[in-house]
Point group: C2
Chain length 319, copies 2
């Protein structure tokens, strides 16, 4: 590992400061200052046991996704895109002390898995935001790359999320605090979304659309699937619900975007959600496409985000 | 693997039919009958690609828990408890084709990981219930073994859940279906809970209590922790909330029990939640105990459930 505990962040690495001001990572918790040691339990990291500024101070891009395998393959892909791959290198899992999440890093790019569903990504984001804060990172851009069910889109289409909406198509996230529900905004960065659409045009490899993403608490009944263990509605009920979603601008459905948008906004992270659609939910529920086809689809958000990161790092090197 | 595709379930294996009637696994979905192939996507299994009755027809006990490592160590532990271990055996991950969940089996015992939070365990349970249904299993008992924060209990205490309650201490689970909220009952099997308490007395290795378990959507703000990235309340607010929970009979807090109770009840699975407490939340928020101590605590639900399973299988062999 190039990082040595206690060593300052090396200045000759690829870094990205294309913005003219420095945005810190905001925590909103006065209690953190009083903690002697902050144990990031689900990462198996901590402020007393690890030199977080040395390990992570140069991070400018964070990419998160559900599957640990996909997040490892993302860091390998990014290494090749940035010409930073070392043929001998195994990319070590920085969170090897736990099986809750997996984390990989190359240069200014961090890749972290988050499991499935709002609670799972929420735990990860609390600890990631604290990690970036403790590491004194600035100007960080974060992407969720994921898979989703599409509504009325050709399978394989990539959706960049405009707004994350709930099961009633409303752009809000409900956070329960001490038993009371607090509403949080699910806006994502519109400029970043536009830049990603431009990247897709430049790549010209697959269709990318801007649209609303519905974030649900459940994959089966919560997404109107007919193939769960329980289903109390008809095909017609399902079609009516999904068509209503479509009328409200929903292009795809997944399970993490709302809390991701809310927490990133609160902490000052520029954030985007980039999900490929695995199937058209108006036509079916089951994932019956071949492994090779799904694998190809799954790489599209990686390719899009990889192109964005490369563009910004190359721009910086040239300037 | 002893199972051969197409082979009937062998009758001379350890099986458990201590109940005098046969309870099937109930799905409540008329659409399933019309499916030619049922792809259990997040398990990487399916009815056309796998002979589920041959692979799983003899399952009588299912044990689920968040961490894939823990569920592997559980199957190794159960193998030794039941005297079924093969020194040469590696217990293969039955879901090796995916990284969403891990699944292990020995004799009539199945061990499955479920990740963190309600949505993650809910996806797993939909597919598990369908798997047990397709495999024509009967008389299945299911345990969630997990970790939790205790309220007013000595760390290391095991809690067997009486009722799973929400963040307002009410025994219900809210399932959103087609945008509408449906309330579901979170009762667990009272007889099974009593049997587990008796097992703990027989073991006499650690304290086990019966109590309510609060199930939250979030580990930090949702559990009144002061050490998340965001915290808008005071230590006094936190103490008031946790003391109110204690007055309502809440002994511990975790993130999966409500949907587990609701779905198991709907599908006719006898179910219990057995969680060890890692810390007393009235005294702190951070998990600062040593790895060895937490590891010892983590084994307690395994030991308790292992004792229960052994008792019932031995009873059957003797009779």
């Amino acid at each position: 590992l190039p990082e040595r505990p206690g060593a300052p962040v090396e200045k000759n690495r690829l870094t990205c400061t294309f913005l003219s001001f420095h945005r810190p990572i905001l925590v909103h918790n006065p209690h953190l200052d009083g903690l002697k040691d902050d144990v990031l339990y689900h990462f198996s990291l901590g402020t007393e046991t690890h030199d977080l500024p040395a390990m992570f101070g140069d991070v400018k891009f964070v990419c998160v996704g559900g599957s640990p395998w996909r997040m490892k393959s993302f860091i390998e892909y990014i290494a090749s895109v940035l010409g930073m791959e070392d043929p001998k290198a195994e990319y070590p899992n920085i969170c090897a002390g736990t099986d809750r999440y997996a984390m990989y890093k190359i240069g200014p790019v961090l890749s972290v898995s988050h499991g499935m569903g709002i609670p799972s990504i929420s735990i990860m984001l609390h600890e990631l935001i604290k990690l970036l804060h403790h590491a004194r990172c600035t100007d960080v851009t974060i992407f969720r790359i994921g898979t989703s069910g599409g509504i009325g889109l050709e399978p394989g289409t990539v959706v960049v999320t405009k707004q994350s909406v709930d099961a009633n198509f409303l752009p809000k996230f409900e956070q329960v605090i001490l038993g009371k529900t607090v509403m949080r905004n699910t806006d994502l960065d519109p400029g970043l979304a536009q830049e990603l659409l431009e990247c897709s045009k430049e790549l010209n490899q697959f269709d990318t659309q801007l649209g609303n993403t519905m974030c649900t608490m459940d994959f089966y009944e919560g997404q109107a699937r007919l193939d769960g263990a329980f289903c109390s509605y008809t095909e017609e009920d399902k079609q009516e619900y999904l068509h209503n979603a479509q009328k409200a601008g929903v292009c795809n459905i997944e399970m993490e975007s709302s809390v991701f948008a809310a927490m990133c906004k609160m902490s000052g992270l520029r954030a985007a959600v980039v999900c490929v659609t695995f199937l058209d939910r108006l036509k079916g529920d089951q994932l019956t496409s071949s492994h090779d086809i799904l694998n190809n689809y799954q790489q599209r958000p990686q390719i899009l985000v990889g192109h964005y990161i490369k563009k910004h790092l190359t721009h910086k090197k040239d300037s």
